[in-house]
């Protein structure tokens, strides 16, 4: 399959800080590729370079047949962009915002009115069509921003953190819409720091850490080495941290870590026997509330490959949720 987007050796520095460092990847026609990394990994800068909002210090960008390194605005008619923050006009209604965005792409009045009506219906915003954008909830704003990004039916869509800062139900709705667009053949490049979101939506994932590509692969291939691993999560009544060293010493072959304040995460290449573990803990005064098996996830793969702690990503997620 031919590449819709080709990025080679892209680099960008701001005031002596390297934001993007030798980044290369391709996105095939109709593919949904995820850029996954913590805040500050260079995801948004990479998107800004691709959309022409920033100029690379070196490297090349090709979108369809256009050399966007030489002519950064050459492919703008082919691309839809949904930024990480809703950037529509607060004082315009949802309908007027969509009509205005359609006009920016040269759509005629009748065509843009029909398209705006169609999108408002598809995104469940018909009832709010003539309300000012400033009165929308965060989830509605994200939906309308996504609608504005596809108003001109772009074959390529850039989505920057599409579900950050919105509630769970709204995020689910956005993910469904993204999946539908993907099924419809749109090439999508999505940035996210939500590992589950990348796992659920993307065909291939680029792990980006401190501006560098650490790994690119399909979700299936990334998870393959984890298939044989056994993971057990043990919930305690009190702090889990003091038990890590004792368990590791008593059960060689087990990798033990405190996954949360009162939660132990035990990992092994061989099956883990729950009984001896629970007995060991309880004989030493620990109160075990629950022990459950878990399937290795993309989060485990991400932590193993990038060295970025899952907790760091989780904190970002909690901060984003608190802002919602």
């Amino acid at each position: 399959m031919s590449a819709a987007i080709q990025v080679a050796h892209l680099a960008k520095r701001f005031d002596g800080v390297t934001a993007v460092d030798d980044v290369s990847f391709d996105v095939a026609q109709g593919e949904l590729l995820g850029l996954l990394g913590p805040n500050g990994a260079g995801k948004t800068t990479t998107l800004n370079l691709l959309t022409g909002l920033a100029r690379p210090d070196s490297g090349s960008i090709r979108i369809e047949a256009h050399d966007c390194t030489r002519r950064p605005r050459a492919a703008q008619h082919l691309v839809g962009i949904v930024p990480d923050e809703s950037n529509l006009y607060e004082e315009l209604s949802g309908f007027d915002n969509l009509c205005f965005c359609a006009a920016l792409y040269g759509m005629r009045k009748r065509e843009r009115r029909e398209r705006a009506t169609e999108l408002l219906q598809a995104f469940g915003l018909t009832d709010a069509a003539h309300r000012k954008f400033e009165t929308y909830s965060k989830g509605m704003k994200r939906k309308l921003t996504l609608a504005a990004g596809i108003v001109h039916r772009p074959p390529i869509l850039f989505l920057d953190e599409p579900t950050t800062g919105i509630d769970v139900a709204a995020a689910r709705g956005i993910r469904q819409l993204v999946a539908e667009l993907h099924r419809g053949g749109t090439t999508i490049l999505l940035t996210t720091h939500y590992i589950e979101e990348a796992e659920r939506l993307c065909e291939r994932i680029v792990f980006l850490v401190r501006g560098r590509v650490v790994r690119i692969d399909t979700v299936h291939n990334l998870l393959l080495p984890e298939r044989g691993r056994q993971v057990l999560i043990v919930s305690l009544a009190d702090s889990a941290a003091p038990w890590c060293a004792q368990l590791a010493a008593a059960f060689p072959g087990l990798k033990v870590e405190a996954a949360a304040d009162a939660e132990l995460r035990l990992e092994s290449a061989a099956p883990i026997r729950v009984g001896p573990l629970v007995r060991f803990l309880e004989e030493r005064g620990a109160e075990v509330l629950e022990a459950r098996r878990a399937h290795p996830s993309l989060e485990d793969v991400f932590v193993r490959i990038t060295g970025v702690e899952a907790g760091e990503m989780r904190k970002e997620r909690e901060r984003a949720a608190a802002g919602a």
Partner: protein
């Protein structure tokens, strides 16, 4: 054709959203009227003083009408990131900036017509060379708008835009021959007057309305045109340098 659809949509959206709002009308009209009224009362003259004051009133109306909103709205849209949406649209940056300033230019021209209409009630305007006044009004509106644009793309915050534009506008009122003739200014300040675009616009209006102009009309128009070109190109260059770096 597709570019022009985008162009007119931006102009109309800005007109609707910004320029036809009451606060802007107050800046563009009430302030110049009050300013001129002050000079009129202080001069102690009668209705015969209306014609010599009219060029100043027209010029200040255009200057404040165009710059007060544009400098703030572009900076505000940039802060709110809605300006990014325009930068991502598939239209040339120069055309985009012309569209973004189009509403302000039209509003500036409309602002100029109000004092002219008022002047027509109070004074005899039959001797006014309208074929010179109308292009001059248009060119002053373009130059003032591009000055506002230059301010907007040179700062990051809304309050900086307000401060910077006042820093340019208020000295300009005194230095460009609006109410005080340039030759009556201290010698050290006179070169500064000729470095201001409004000086040339006001000179054209004085000449066209009551025959008292200091420079040849051709030179006035050429200088005003040159200011328009320089301010616009400097603004586009600033956008490339500061916003798409």
């Amino acid at each position: 054709m597709r570019h022009w659809i985008a162009f007119w949509s931006i102009v109309l959206k800005d007109m609707r959203t910004y320029y036809l709002k009451p606060p802007n009308v107050s800046w563009g009209l009430i302030f110049p009227l009050a300013w001129t009224g002050m000079f009129f009362v202080r001069s102690g003259a009668g209705v015969e003083a209306v014609l010599p004051l009219l060029p100043g009133l027209v010029a200040v109306s255009i200057l404040f009408g165009t710059t007060s909103m544009l400098a703030v709205t572009v900076t505000f849209e940039r802060r709110m990131r809605s300006f990014e949406r325009l930068l991502l649209a598939p239209i040339p940056l120069e055309l985009l900036m012309l569209a973004k300033t189009g509403g302000a230019i039209l509003f500036g021209i409309a602002n100029a017509l109000v004092p002219i209409a008022l002047g027509a009630f109070l004074a005899d305007l039959s001797g006014v060379a309208w074929s010179t006044v109308l292009p001059a009004v248009g060119l002053i509106a373009v130059a003032s708008t591009f000055l506002g644009l230059f301010v907007a793309v040179s700062v990051s915050e809304v309050f900086e835009a307000q401060t910077f534009s006042n820093f340019l506008r208020f000295p300009m009122i005194f230095l460009c021959g609006l109410f005080i003739p340039i030759e009556a200014l201290p010698a050290a300040l006179q070169p500064l007057s000729y470095a201001l675009p409004l000086t040339y616009g006001v000179d054209i209006l004085h000449g066209a309305m009551h025959g008292a102009h200091a420079l040849p009309l051709g030179l006035d128009f050429a200088a005003l045109g040159a200011f328009c070109a320089v301010l616009f190109l400097a603004s586009v260059r600033n956008i490339h340098k500061r916003w798409i770096s």
